[in-house]
Structure formats: C-alpha cells, structure tokens
C-alpha cells in the first residue's frame, strides 16, 4: 500500500512545502489538457509539485521511484492528445517553475535555458539580441521548451528550419531513476560521436524522464518577410507548385496547404470588413499559403518569381490580403483583436480535434479521400485538412485531419475511433500514425501496427531510462500488467 502522506512529506522536505500541493483545487487545475475529453470528466493526480531546479526535479523523481509512484511531467498542458492526463494518479511535475534563461551565446548562436520557459518568453528575450528560435507552434505563448521537445510538435517554419530535433544541441534530463544526465554534444551543431540520446527525448512524451535544461541553436531574425497565398483546383496541383517553390531556391520559410473546407476560417475577416464573400472560384479545392523571409531586396525579387511559379502550375494568387493575413495571424503572429481571441470563441459548442498523420507527398489526395469518408463513417463533422511541412527544404506532410468534436462521452469515443482509423490508413499509405500530437494513450492500439518488432526494442530502451515504469505511465507504451494493476489503485 502506497502511503501518499509519507511521500508528500518526503518530497516537501526535499524541495520545500510551498512547492508541493495536494488540495483538491490544485489537483483539479491539472486535470485536463487541450485534448477532447467528456465535459464532466476529472482525472486527478495525487500530488502536484513545482520544482525550480534540475536538482529539485531529481529529488522528486528519486522519491517517486523509491515508492514506485507515477510521475507525469507537464509543460504548457496544451497538448492535443492527453499526454499530461494522470490516468494512474501519481505526481505531476509542473515544469513551468524551471523558467530561467541561463545563457545567450551570441557568438555561437546558442541559447541555454531551463525547459519550463515558454517558447514566446524565450523568443521575447532573444529578440533583444536580434535572435530567435524558429520553432513556432500556435501554442507558443503557453507551450514550453521541454514540452515542445517531448511532444515533438509542429512549427510554422518547419520547412526551412525544421522541428525541435533540428534545434536541440544538448539537454539535461532527469531519468526515471532520478539520475541527472546530459545528452547531446554541448554546443556542437553536429557530431558523429556516441549515440544520439538527445534525439530519443524528442517525442518521448515524458516516458523516459524529465527534460530540465536545453541548449538550442538560434538564428538571426530575418530582416523581412512576405506572406502570400494562392488557390488551386486540386491538392496535387498545390503540392506540385509548392515543390517547385522549394526547388527553385526561393527563401521559403512556411508552407501550408489547406483543403477547401478550411477556407471559411480565413475568409471571415474579409466578410466582416466588406460584408460579402470574397471571390473564390467554384472549382477551388486547395489553398496554398506560404511565406518567404530574408533581406528585403531579395524577398521582393523572390515574391515576383514565386507568383510566376504559382501561375505556371495553375494557381490563382489570392488578392484579398485579409484572407492571407487571417492565416498568418492564426499561425504565427496570434495578433488577435483584444477580447476576441479565436480559440475560445471558435469552440463555444464543439471543440477542434484532429488526427495528425503523415504520408508521403504523393499520397495526399488518397489521404484526403479517406479523411472525408472516415469523418462521415464516425458521424463527426468535418473541419478540414491542413498540410504542414516540417522537414527542411522539402514537401514533408504533417497532416491535420481536423473535425469538430462535442463533449459527450459517445462523441469523444467516436472521435478517438476515428483517430485510430486515420492513423492506420496513414500507415497503409506508407506514412505514420502521428506527426505533431504524439502517441499518448490514444494510439496504444496502433503502436504495433506502426512499429512491429521495433516496438520491443523501444520498450527495452524505455526500461533503461525508467526501470520501474514510473514515467508518464499509460502513454506510448502499454504498461506491464503487474504495474498496471498496482497503479490502478492510485487513481483518484
């Protein structure tokens, strides 16, 4: 029998009682992330701690490991897959207390920071030096560095600068046994030495340990950016045009391809301003949005060249700048009117939910067909497909197959069945089950289908870092039966 009071006392003694809470109000506040869940569901941890140093994190994990009690590290809690939910209770480590910038190295273009700082806060500080971390998810005001690494989420600028894997040079992590180790190669941008353990933590979803400190490469902020968009008769045409934009050597730094269903989100501002619909040809099936950045003279030249390519590939340039600005606001600037931020207002009755799959570029039309079919099959309402591109310099689809989800138990259940089906379809299309949300608990049934025998190797790696399966149990890996039974009793 686990004595939670004793564990609380021991943790309080180690890191200070003011950083440890177990009152119901605190626990409730950590009961949910951005994932679709039934309206009245509460999944509570037993304890929430808010350490401020790597050593404090290690002390907490050591105690939890000694008592074999689950540990769930959380960052901004904006994950869309339930990665921070404490299905087996345990101790939530709120990493936002680790929010200091330790070094901005201008000569070597690196920053070292504690992992609980938000991406926006880091970039606000870096901007004083003319620098930025180009990792740019929509959740950046809330999402932390550690969470962005652990969830391997998408970035607006992935097609030019990649994802967190491309930015992380090294990290300090606390393993599941409470040991502090440094992974990666200090400030080296590339290394052939050893195994790339830091890469294991990218997308690890807190199952290997807690990321507490990171050293990242950063870049000078581009002088100027131009954002543009065009309409196409098919997704394929848009992909072909985008491929040419990239191969032509233009300074492209973002590419999104949306299906027709999503157009309404970006025409709203135009409708409000002019009181009428913008002129969009009936046959439009895809909208290509892109941005280019660099020195102004160069980008100005590139703008005309890009437009020529688009027209050559059958695209129609969007002349209504309101549409383009709406897309840019929704993805990058988040510069919404005061008191009118888009997220809550667009989810007053139903939530956005998505299957986040990846397929090779040539399979996108097939995926779209399957998306429309699957949404109907599961009785959901379609929101639309958005194709992000997340590998450097190539069409590299990370696809959001988004739907509206109500918060009844039945609809949430149907949503996750839909997600699983879409993930299997993506694997069948020679792709992957998840590209920016992560496996979490929702794809446990799909893991073997995706990874086959390799999954066993992954479990062994997991056990090296976390021998007692305390780290974020029930996510990414099916728990061993005896541990599952033990943890089940902890759930509040």
């Amino acid at each position: 029998m686990i004595n939670l009071e004793a564990i609380k006392a021991e943790i309080s003694n180690a890191i200070g009682a003011d950083k440890v809470r177990d009152d119901i109000v605190t626990l409730v506040a950590y009961s949910r992330d951005w994932s679709p869940r039934p309206a009245e569901e509460l999944i509570l941890p037993n304890l929430v701690v808010r350490p401020e140093t790597t050593e404090e994190v290690a002390a907490v994990v050591k105690i939890c490991n000694k008592y074999h009690i689950p540990v769930v590290p959380v960052g901004g809690m904006t994950g869309m897959g339930g990665g921070t939910l404490t299905f087996y209770g345990g101790v939530v480590i709120d990493t936002k207390g680790l929010n200091k910038i330790l070094e901005i190295d201008r000569e070597n273009l690196t920053v070292t920071a504690q992992a609980g700082i938000t991406i926006k806060a880091l970039n606000d500080e870096l901007s004083k030096y003319g620098l930025w971390l180009p990792h740019d998810p929509e959740s950046k005001p809330t999402s932390t560095l550690g969470a962005a690494i652990a969830c391997d989420n998408d970035s607006t600028f992935g097609v030019r600068w990649g994802k967190m894997l491309d930015h992380v040079l090294s990290a300090v992590v606390v393993t599941g046994s409470g040991e502090i180790i440094r992974v990666g190669n200090r400030k080296a941008y590339c290394s052939s030495s050893g195994l790339k353990l830091h890469a294991l933590f990218v997308g690890s979803e807190g199952t290997l340990g807690v990321i507490t400190e990171v050293t990242l490469r950063v870049l000078p902020i581009p002088e100027y950016r131009w954002v543009d968009g065009a309409l196409f008769k098919s997704i394929k045409d848009a992909v072909n045009a985008a491929q040419k934009l990239l191969s032509s050597g233009l300074p492209i730094d973002a590419i999104n391809i949306n299906d027709r269903f999503r157009l309404q989100f970006y025409t709203h501002a135009y409708r409000v301003k002019y009181g009428r619909e913008p002129k969009v040809p009936e046959e439009t099936q895809a909208i290509l949005f892109f941005s280019m950045s660099g020195d102004k003279e160069l980008v100005d030249f590139a703008k005309d060249h890009a437009r020529k390519i688009i027209e050559k590939f059958g695209g129609q340039i969007i002349e209504e700048r309101e549409i383009i600005e709406s897309w840019w606001k929704s993805k990058h600037t988040l510069d919404f009117d005061p008191f009118k931020q888009k997220w809550p207002d667009s989810q007053r009755s139903r939530k956005f939910g998505a299957a986040d799959v990846g397929v090779p570029p040539g399979r996108l039309e097939d995926l779209h067909r399957e998306f429309v079919r699957a949404v109907e099959k599961h009785g959901l309402k379609i929101l639309g497909m958005n194709i992000y591109n997340e590998r450097i310099g190539c069409i590299s689809p990370s696809v959001s197959c988004a739907v509206y989800v109500g918060d009844s138990e039945d609809e949430v259940k149907r949503f996750y069945e839909y997600v699983k089906e879409m993930s299997k379809i993506a694997i069948d299309l020679e792709g992957t089950a998840s590209t920016y949300i992560g496996d979490t608990w929702r794809l446990l049934d799909v893991m073997e289908y995706e990874h086959g025998r390799a999954l066993e190797y992954m479990r062994k790696i997991k056990e090296i870092f976390d021998p007692n399966w305390i780290m974020n149990p029930g996510k990414k890996f099916v728990l061993p039966r005896d541990i599952e039974e033990k943890y089940r009793g902890l759930r509040c």
Binding site: G97, Q341, K351
Partner: protein, 376 residues
C-alpha cells in the same frame, strides 16, 4: 466596453465549459498572480476548471478555492487575451463565496470600514474634505467632482491640484463633501452585493437630489463603478461619469487648451479600469505625446499588466501585491523613460511602493495632477 454581467456562477456554464474544452492558456502570459504563485489555479485557465468542478459539485468552498479567488487582481488581462470575459465569472465566484460566508477576514475588514467610515481605510469621515477647507470650491452646479477615497486621504494636495486643473480647463465642477463617500467598488469586489447595492442607491439618491447630471473623477475605479456597475443595480440609472483625463483630452482635442511640451521621455502605465474596462487607451497617450516622447512598456494598452493594486489583493495577500508591483515597476523602468506616469491613484500608490523597493531612479508622476502646470 467590457460588459459587466451579474449572473450567478452556475449561469456561466457555457463560458466555463468553453474554456474547459479550449485550454489554450493564452491568459497566463501576463497574469501576475500566476507568475508569482506558480500553480495553475492562480491563472484564469486553472481557476475556470476549478469553477467547473464547483458548478458540478465535485468540490466545495474550500480554503484553497478562496485562496485562488482572492489571489486575483481582477485586472482583466485574461479578458483581453480571451473572448469569454473570465473576470465576470471570477466576480461571480466571489459572490458565491460571500453567500457561503467564506470571505477572508482581511477582506471583511475593508467592507466594514467602507460601511462604517465611507472609506476602506477606516479613517474619519470628516478627514475626506480636509483638502478643500481653505480652497475656493464651487458648491452649486450639475457636474460633480467625485474624488474617490485614495486622493483625499492619501494625496490631499494632489486632489486639490486636480480640482484646479478642472477649473483651468473650464469644467465647472462642484464639490460636496457632505454627500461624498466611497463609490462601493471594494465592496462589490468582495461579493457583498447587498451592501454595495445600498451604497450605490444612497449615493445616487444624494446626487439626484442635488441635481447632479454628470460626475467627473480622477479615479478610474470610481468612474468604472458608477458608469458600468451602478446601472446594473439601479433601475432607470441616468448619470454620466467620466475620468478627468477624458475631460482634459476633449478640451485638448478640439483645440480649446494647449499643453506645454516638456521635452522629456515618458512611459505610461495603463490602469486596468481605465484601459480594459473603460477602453480608454489612446486619449491619455495623445496627451502624453503632446508633453514629450512616449516609450511603451513591453505590456501595454489592453494587454498591460496589473500594477498589483487590483482585486483587493493588497488586503488579502500583501506579499503578492508587493511582488506584482515590483514586476510591473521593473518593466516600466526597463523602458528607460525619464518619467513613469499613470492616471489612477491606486496604480500610483502601488507603483510607488514597487519603484522604491527596486530603488528605481525613474520619477513617477500622476498625469492627473501633472497636467495642472502644463495646460494653458
């Protein structure tokens, strides 16, 4: 205008569930209680989910719920970053706590002082008008000069200067100490709406009996309370309330007055009640820009951070009040402007504490009073 809506907590279900299904957390960035205290339930997002649990009767009126509720400045940063107006809901939470007799002792003391002495500080009622004793004060007219509580008790010289400013720009305002008391805002914020109702109605009755048609005040909290909250409690409410800065701006904007340029650099702290609640952000800036160069702090206008003086936190948790003032003071100092200015006595008082604590050399000026020597 941020629409004040007085609903019972349970009637905010749609907003609470919408936040619950959104969880974007954009509200957290400029929320000083969250920054200082750290745990989720001190932010708007976290408090919203605890309210959901309360509405669903999964939790009760515990000490930690009270703590979450009163460690909030009700500054509205979350309102500006959202579309759900969370502070309406947090005000309703305080009301529920009041009804459940869960109001913390330090807060009760403030309410008692307002009820007994007509001010939150427990100071003698008659001291309110000391500043006007030897002043040449207008006694009859339709525009009432309403000082609020902070100025006459804590900054009597300055309130006199503000009165002279109004005279100088041609606003013929009367001052009637016999009918002036607290507007009741602190009481409203505690959830004691019965006492607030009585204060509001008594004030309104007295003003009407004197034939008052308009109120001008240098306190944004008073202006907000009278213009936005009173109408929710008083049927047929008919009275205009405006801030001194608006009166000056109107005269300046139509060219009837001019301002001497000081050729100094200024930064401006937006008071929450003036900016987010009354939506007055550009008018004070236009006045400041006429005086000198304006340098904006990182968080400004509708997205300004609280000075630490809002929501009765100073009474409930003086440590948080102070820490928040240090944060905001430092942010204003970081602009490297020569003069920090604001238009609210609460903000002035709170920032003054913060600036002294961080040993800032930047001077702090109350724009309301500063204008007297500059207007011509």
């Amino acid at each position: 205008m941020l629409e004040v809506e007085l609903r019972k907590l349970g009637e905010w279900r749609d907003e609470v569930y919408t936040c619950n299904r959104t969880r974007c957390g954009y509200c957290q960035e400029g929320c000083l209680p969250y920054k200082v205290l750290g745990f989720e339930h001190y932010s708007s997002r976290g408090r919203m989910i605890t309210i959901r649990a309360l509405v669903e009767r999964k939790i009760d009126f515990s000490e930690s719920l009270v703590d979450s509720s009163f460690n909030c400045f009700l500054c509205g940063f979350c309102d500006a970053k959202c579309a759900l107006f969370p502070t309406n809901i947090f005000t309703a939470l305080r009301r529920e706590l009041f009804v459940a007799r869960k109001i913390p002792e330090p807060i009760k003391t403030v309410v008692d002082s307002v009820a007994k002495f007509g001010n939150p500080y427990g100071l003698p009622r008659e001291d309110r008008a000391v500043w006007a004793k030897n002043a040449n004060i207008r006694r009859r007219g339709q525009v009432l000069f309403f000082t609020g509580c902070i100025y006459p008790y804590l900054y009597p010289k300055r309130i006199h200067a503000i009165y002279l400013l109004l005279e100088k720009i041609g606003v013929e305002a009367v001052y009637v100490p016999e009918i002036e008391g607290c507007c009741g805002y602190p009481v409203f914020l505690t959830g004691d709406w019965e006492t607030f109702d009585a204060i509001a109605k008594a004030n309104y009755k007295a003003w009407k009996e004197r034939g008052i048609k308009k109120i001008v005040s240098p306190c944004p909290g008073c202006v907000y309370t009278i213009s936005e909250i009173y109408p929710k409690f008083i049927d047929g409410f008919e009275l205009e309330a405006t801030h001194v800065v608006m009166s000056v701006f109107e005269e300046f904007d139509c060219g009837r007055i001019k301002l001497n340029r000081l050729n100094r650099t200024f930064t401006y702290h937006d008071p929450c009640d003036l900016s987010r609640k009354l939506k007055l952000v550009e008018q004070p800036r236009k006045l400041i820009e006429a005086l000198g160069d304006l340098i904006e702090p990182k968080y400004n206008k509708f997205f300004a951070r609280c000075c630490g003086g809002g929501g009765m936190v100073s009474a409930y948790n003086p440590q948080l009040h102070l820490k928040a003032s240090l944060e905001r003071a430092q942010e204003l100092v970081d602009t490297q402007a020569e003069i920090i200015t604001t238009t609210c006595p609460t903000c002035y008082r709170t920032l003054d504490k913060g600036l002294k604590r961080i040993k800032a050399k930047t001077s702090l000026e109350d724009l309301n009073a500063l204008l007297l020597d500059i207007v011509y």
